[in-house]
């Protein structure tokens, strides 16, 4: 179905994309740069404030029952070597919570309180994974592990081809 019709459908089913005051409603305001709103609780007030949120989340389906926006399907990456990744950039992406965010779920060198959702990556090179397989793991691991918890960064468009190459270079540098 054409995207515009999906958007209009969402407007009818989950509230209006035109902002406040609709029940039920997705909390967004197309007039602000990130479109996304977050609640702000004002002490001793009967009014709930909504203020701009730092990330634009409006492309994604919400928790609304009938939200007709789809999620991207599992996708095989079209990886072609050589890698040409920059490990220094890769590290920055891995540590950035709005980008790779790997550190939230994995142990990464130099992080005191890493996550334990996935494997410790501090000596990743020892796993001897090929660049192509690691690329696909980050791009979208659902192609081989449909129940994976790790976000498919490439298929969701969170990381670009070069971003993933950089992260691969970084991981492969961890002796």
């Amino acid at each position: 179905m054409h995207t515009i019709w999906r958007v209009i459908l969402v407007a009818f089913l989950c509230g209006s994309p035109l902002g406040y005051g609709y029940t039920p409603g997705e909390m967004m305001d197309p007039k602000i740069p990130t479109k996304t709103l977050m609640p702000k609780i004002k002490v001793d007030s009967g009014l709930l404030e909504w203020v701009p949120y730092s990330v634009d989340l409006s492309p994604w389906p919400t928790l609304c029952v009938d939200d007709p926006r789809p999620m991207p399907r599992p996708k095989k990456a079209q990886y072609v070597g050589p890698l040409r990744g920059d490990a220094v950039r890769g590290k920055a992406i891995a540590m950035d919570t709005q980008r790779g965010n790997c550190v939230t779920c994995h142990a990464i060198p130099g992080e005191e309180w890493p996550g334990t959702f996935g494997r410790d990556l501090r000596h990743y090179k020892q796993m001897r994974m090929s660049d192509a397989d690691l690329y696909q793991q980050i791009y979208d691991v659902r192609t081989s592990a449909p129940r994976a918890v790790m976000p498919p960064f490439g298929a969701l468009g969170i990381l670009s081809d070069q971003d993933i190459r950089d992260v691969v270079a970084y991981l492969q540098s961890l002796e």
Partner: protein, 294 residues
């Protein structure tokens, strides 16, 4: 306007057939009772009795998650925090709203054990409930907003003052077990929808609530450890340092943004379905307010 909707409806009718692609975390068996946790995480035995928590666990960075944070709940945690101030304000607001007695009558308009109740005692334990005046299942905060409006006051669902009144009403059920019946009728439907929503993978991380609260309990995201979803509703509304007095629907909104999808307005049907689902997971656990959480 109505014509426009009909025309749009006809144009969109074929769209219904094509379900948007989404993945679901495989459904675990959920019990509408707090003891169901024993099949999920097994931590219930550590926090089953709020008066007898194992404090050695609390001091253990690797094991404290097993207490499901219950050591931060009243009456176990008697420390002063903003939740207490909000409860006091809730009482003041309640008295003001209830000058003519109609506000309380509006709140208690529900059937418990087959008879109409007249007291606030136990009220918290029976929400969300089907409300004939609203014609739908509604949470306590939605009903507070509705009943306050009848008194000419604006207490938006999720606002500090709405949550303060909710906290006061909850305090009148302190220690009484949450008890909603999701075995039939509209609450059953809401429980089923809520359970499905809980497993739906969406947003910028393609995750469901169950991705963490079922599949990764006890694992840490940076410095925070994921705990059981059972028993959580007993301490709402809760005081959160960075955010203030937080109702369950506001918590859903905060979770949504953190997970990478837009928040819904408190009182939205999807949030009420989730509230029914999570409240049923707290059935049998005593109301414990005011509480705090990080």
């Amino acid at each position: 306007m109505r014509n426009l909707i009909v025309v749009l409806g006809l144009m969109l009718a074929p769209a219904w057939a094509d379900e948007p692609y989404k993945e679901y975390t495989s459904a675990e068996h959920f019990e509408p009772h707090v003891s169901g946790d024993l099949q999920l995480t097994g931590t219930y035995r550590y926090w089953k009795d709020p008066a007898k928590l194992d404090l050695r666990l609390a001091g253990h960075p690797d094991d404290s998650w097993k207490l499901n944070w219950k050591h931060m709940d009243y009456p176990f945690n008697k420390e002063m925090h903003a939740g207490h101030l909000a409860l006091d304000r809730g009482l003041t607001l309640f008295k003001k709203l209830n000058r003519s007695g109609t506000f309380k009558n509006c709140l208690v308009m529900y059937r418990l054990n087959g008879k109409y109740e007249t007291s606030l005692r136990g009220l918290r334990t029976a929400f969300p409930a089907y409300r004939t005046d609203l014609g739908r299942v509604a949470g306590l905060e939605e009903v507070i907003e509705h009943c306050a409006a009848l008194e000419g006051e604006v207490l938006q669902n999720g606002s500090h003052d709405n949550s303060a009144v909710s906290l006061y009403v909850a305090s009148q059920s302190l220690g009484m077990p949450i008890q909603i019946d999701v075995s039939s009728g509209p609450l059953r439907e809401a429980w089923k929808r809520g359970e499905r929503l809980y497993h739906q993978k969406i947003g910028r991380n393609n995750m469901s609530c169950a991705s963490c609260h079922v599949e990764r309990v006890g694992q840490s995201l940076r410095a925070t450890v994921v705990t059981s979803p059972y028993g959580d509703v007993a301490h709402y509304p809760v005081y959160r340092d960075r955010f203030g007095i937080t109702s369950l629907h506001i918590r859903f909104a905060q979770c949504s943004l953190e997970l990478g999808f837009n928040a819904l307005k408190p009182g939205s049907p999807a949030y009420t379905d989730m509230e029914v689902f999570m409240t049923a997971l707290t059935n049998g656990y005593p109301v414990s307010v005011p509480s705090e959480r990080p």
